[in-house]
């Protein structure tokens, strides 16, 4: 058999193999009429190793035989096959975070009081591990509960210089108008112009409608990110 053909056959066998293959095992792939001997295989494997030195993967020899593997230097890209999609935070977590942002320093009991439901330790732990909140002190009431506040990392993540740049409550009421562009400067301007309207809107029955449209918009955004 021609050396080029033998090389290609060995390549095809090895690239589709699930385990390393020894020279003996490789020889087992050939029939007597293929006229392939141990030395031929050995030589072809050696040539193959040379052939792949400049590639993104290489032919290496381990204790149990030869196998192709991706090169170490490209692992940062290859590993991304197995990257998990980032999870989404729960509504409860976001509400807790929002309260810590706008009402800091705040105790867990106060958060629970406002939200009307218990705040799980898991949520607080997640936010702390993310370095977005931390305990900034203790309230001098029975039990001396921790007071929670946001961190520098929180501001960095959202590209804020300070919490001042967070939209004010009145601006939040008008959030529909501000999106899709989350430009704080635009928000400020709009808030100033439309502040009258905001208040009047606030009193209407449109709450649900507003909610839905926001959710929808949020979903759209999420999808477009996934695409």
């Amino acid at each position: 058999m021609q050396i080029e053909k033998l090389q290609n056959i060995l390549e095809a066998i090895l690239i589709s193999a699930e385990k390393p293959l020894s020279i003996e095992k490789l020889l087992g792939f050939f029939q007597p009429e293929d006229l392939v001997n141990r030395n031929d295989v050995k030589k072809a494997l050696f040539d193959l190793q040379q052939r792949f030195t400049t590639h993104g993967f290489e032919l290496i020899e381990t204790a149990s035989g030869f196998r192709f593997q991706t090169k170490e230097e490209y692992k940062q890209w290859v590993t991304q096959h197995w990257d998990e999609k980032p999870a989404k935070y729960s509504r409860a977590l976001l509400e807790t975070l929002a309260l810590i942002v706008y009402r800091q320093p705040i105790t867990r009991a106060e958060i629970e009081d406002i939200r009307g439901v218990a705040v799980s330790s898991h949520i607080i732990k997640t936010l702390q591990e993310r370095d977005w909140i931390r305990i900034v002190g203790h309230k001098e009431v029975p039990g001396r509960p921790s007071l929670l506040g946001t961190t520098r990392q929180f501001l960095d993540y959202f590209n804020l210089k300070s919490l001042d740049e967070m939209p004010s409550l009145s601006e939040i009421q008008d959030i529909d108008k501000l999106y899709p562009e989350l430009d704080l400067k635009i928000q400020e301007e709009l808030a100033n112009e439309d502040s009258d309207e905001i208040e009047s809107e606030n009193g209407t029955d449109d709450v649900n409608t507003m909610d839905d449209s926001q959710n929808e918009e949020a979903d759209d955004k999420h999808q477009s990110k996934q695409d």
């Binding site: 990257d83 320093p105 406002i114 506040g149 959030i175």
Partner: protein
């Protein structure tokens, strides 16, 4: 059921041919009492053989192609007779005969009888009685061929195989969920709505800057350090900044989160977190 029974059955049928039918078993003027040549096979094998047909169209195509006949010009009487023999065979060996075969038998008989009628050459538009059958046969044959073509396409797992290599991976990093600033705003807005409905104005409009400064002040007081009141202020921030810090300190005092200590009048004022009080009680 034996071959013999089958033959008898065939014979019986052939002795009473319907009008105008050309009995397939009369060839060269002689009665043939045996099934067609290629049916001289054991019943078991016959069953397998018959089952290889994908239906009446497939069987008809087989009969036509076997004799190198032109599909556009089928000798309908011959083919009908042959077809009926096969159907009869299937029945005789108790093969589960699909209804479609009988429907086709009826169609063939109908075509045959129409073929018997004298053709009026003056009527130009007269259809060939076989036209519909021929159309269906051709249509079926195209897809029979297409099926073969598909089967011949190189395919994964038969002709081409996936690659499988060892992968050198980097340590796995679990990505943190992404949050839009907007998500926080929406969450807070929801809270406001809920609160509006329940307790009125528990959360009032409030300058977030004071809230932030409260955190800031608290973080400066964090740990073991006493902090001098004046150190909390940054003059660069101007009057507004100073006022905000002052309000933050007052708010913290009101909340009993921090405590203010002054040894004597005009002495420096120190601030400390309430939580640290016990530890520093003995100090000046």
């Amino acid at each position: 059921m034996s071959n013999q029974d089958t033959n008898q059955e065939l014979q019986k049928r052939q002795t009473t041919p319907s009008q105008g039918e050309l009995p397939f078993a009369i060839v060269h003027g002689e009665e043939i009492s045996a099934p067609p040549e290629d049916l001289y096979i054991p019943p078991d094998a016959l069953e397998v053989f018959l089952e290889t047909f994908e239906g009446p169209l497939d069987l008809l195509l087989y009969l036509i192609r076997r004799q190198n006949l032109d599909i556009l010009d089928i000798p309908i009487a011959d083919i009908t007779a042959q077809y009926m023999d096969y159907v009869e065979m299937m029945r005789n060996i108790n093969l589960d005969l699909a209804a479609e075969y009988l429907v086709m038998a009826a169609m063939l008989a109908e075509i045959k009888s129409r073929m018997l009628l004298p053709r009026h050459e003056e009527i130009e538009d007269e259809d060939d009685p076989r036209a519909e059958l021929v159309r269906r046969l051709q249509e079926y044959e195209r897809f029979k061929k297409a099926a073969t073509d598909i089967d011949e396409l190189p395919r994964k797992g038969r002709d081409n195989f996936d690659t499988s290599v060892e992968v050198i991976r980097a340590p796995k990093i679990k990505p943190e969920p992404h949050v839009d600033l907007r998500d926080i705003l929406l969450a807070f807005q929801d809270i406001l709505k809920q609160v509006d409905m329940q307790k009125h104005h528990e959360i009032e409009r409030e300058e977030i800057s004071i809230r932030e400064r409260m955190t800031h002040v608290l973080s400066k007081l964090d740990g073991d350090n006493f902090v001098e009141f004046q150190d909390l202020f940054t003059l660069k921030e101007g009057r507004l900044g100073v006022v905000v810090t002052l309000m933050a300190v007052l708010e913290l005092l009101k909340l009993k989160v921090i405590d203010m200590v002054q040894a004597e009048a005009f002495a420096p004022i120190y601030l400390k977190p309430v939580s640290g009080l016990d530890e520093y009680q003995d100090e000046p």
